[in-house]
């Protein structure tokens, strides 16, 4: 039985990977030694049996499917479109795309600002209306107890007609 080193040399010889000197050594042992010849024969035959394994082939349209999958994953432009577009057109198209993107951003910003302002004004107005009413009615509210004691407007009219308020107005002049 050959040593590990000898086996390595035999296999490398069969694969054409031995330098000339080592190859000559193996060839000499092949002539001299029947056991080595048998080893080489078996190694060759068993290796050749691998040819029985079926050769696999890609399914129909594999290449196209692969290119489509890569285009989808990498957002690669279609070859036809890419070929028709010159570098100058590409650069112009990129510039237009950048301007468009900035336009979209500006519209979004001002839109947001408008909505925020309108919302603030609306909320302020809604909160300030009851406050204005209270301020207008403040003198009445302050003397509400007295007004409630008087009762109604008809009673106040009759007092006025009796001349009571005229006398009170004149009193300081005396």
């Amino acid at each position: 039985m050959a040593s590990d080193k000898e086996k390595e040399e035999l296999v490398a010889y069969l694969d054409g990977e031995l330098p000339d000197e080592a190859a000559s050594r193996v060839e000499k042992s092949l002539v001299d030694d029947a056991a080595v010849r048998s080893d080489v024969e078996q190694l060759t035959k068993t290796f050749d049996l691998l040819d029985l394994l079926p050769a696999s082939k890609a399914s129909d349209g594999f290449a196209e499917k692969t290119l489509t999958a890569i285009r989808t994953k990498e957002s690669v432009p279609d070859t036809n479109t890419a070929e028709k577009t010159s570098p100058a057109e590409k650069s112009q198209s990129n510039a237009s795309r950048r301007v468009f993107a900035w336009g979209i951003r500006a519209v979004a910003f001002f839109g947001l600002l408008f909505v925020a302002t309108a919302g603030f004004n609306g909320a302020f107005k809604q909160n300030s209306e009851p406050m204005d009413e209270l301020l207008t009615e403040l003198p009445v509210i302050q003397r509400l107890d007295e007004y409630q004691e008087i009762g109604d407007v008809e009673f106040l009219k009759s007092l006025n007609e009796s001349g009571l308020f005229d006398e009170r107005d004149k009193a300081p002049q005396d």
Binding site: E17, K45, T46, L49, L53, S56, S59, F62, A63
Partner: protein
Amino acid sequence: MSSATHQIDQNAWLRDPDVQRMLRVRDDDEAAFGELVEAYQNRLIGIFTHVLHDSAAAEDLAQEAFLRVYRARHRYQPTAKFATWLFRIANNLATNRLRSLSRRKEVSMKAADSGQQSLPTPEQLAAEKSALMPTRQLDKQEMREVVRQSLDTLNDRQRMALLLNKFEHMSYADIAASMDLSVQAVKSLLTRARENLRLQLEPYLTGSSDQERANK
């Protein structure tokens, strides 16, 4: 290595037409990429099918390999034959897939039971082997199955090295570059692979020789 020798080596890679195609891919030439896919699809799928025994999974992995090539296009430097670079990617993908399949198998075996029953004993293995013994001449289909099973007895690295050697006709240096090994390691790996294959298939050799003669 001197710079002059390095320059000569680099020029040698540049003579590889697929390196030229890949350089066009680097410049975003999608048609060149399509040519590479067409040229290598069957070769990649063939290797992956021998490794995974599943043609659909082999196609998925081949597609992943091409995607990686495409993604790496802008960083591509021609430092080897294109096939060597591609099969290095393929080898990494196959190794990762086999590792993940083996982990999944481990989990499912643990989940199935104690796991002891599902692992065949050496006696069972011997019985399975004896069932394949060539007590009669096998037909081509049966012999193909025996060869496939023999290939499966090799470990993942031996099998990949053998497949690249046999079907891609790669030199030891190219296999070493594809598998990230030294040339000496590839030499040892291939010797063990060929020796294991011989042990598995030796009993069938007489039958196959007779069959070959009969076919002739």
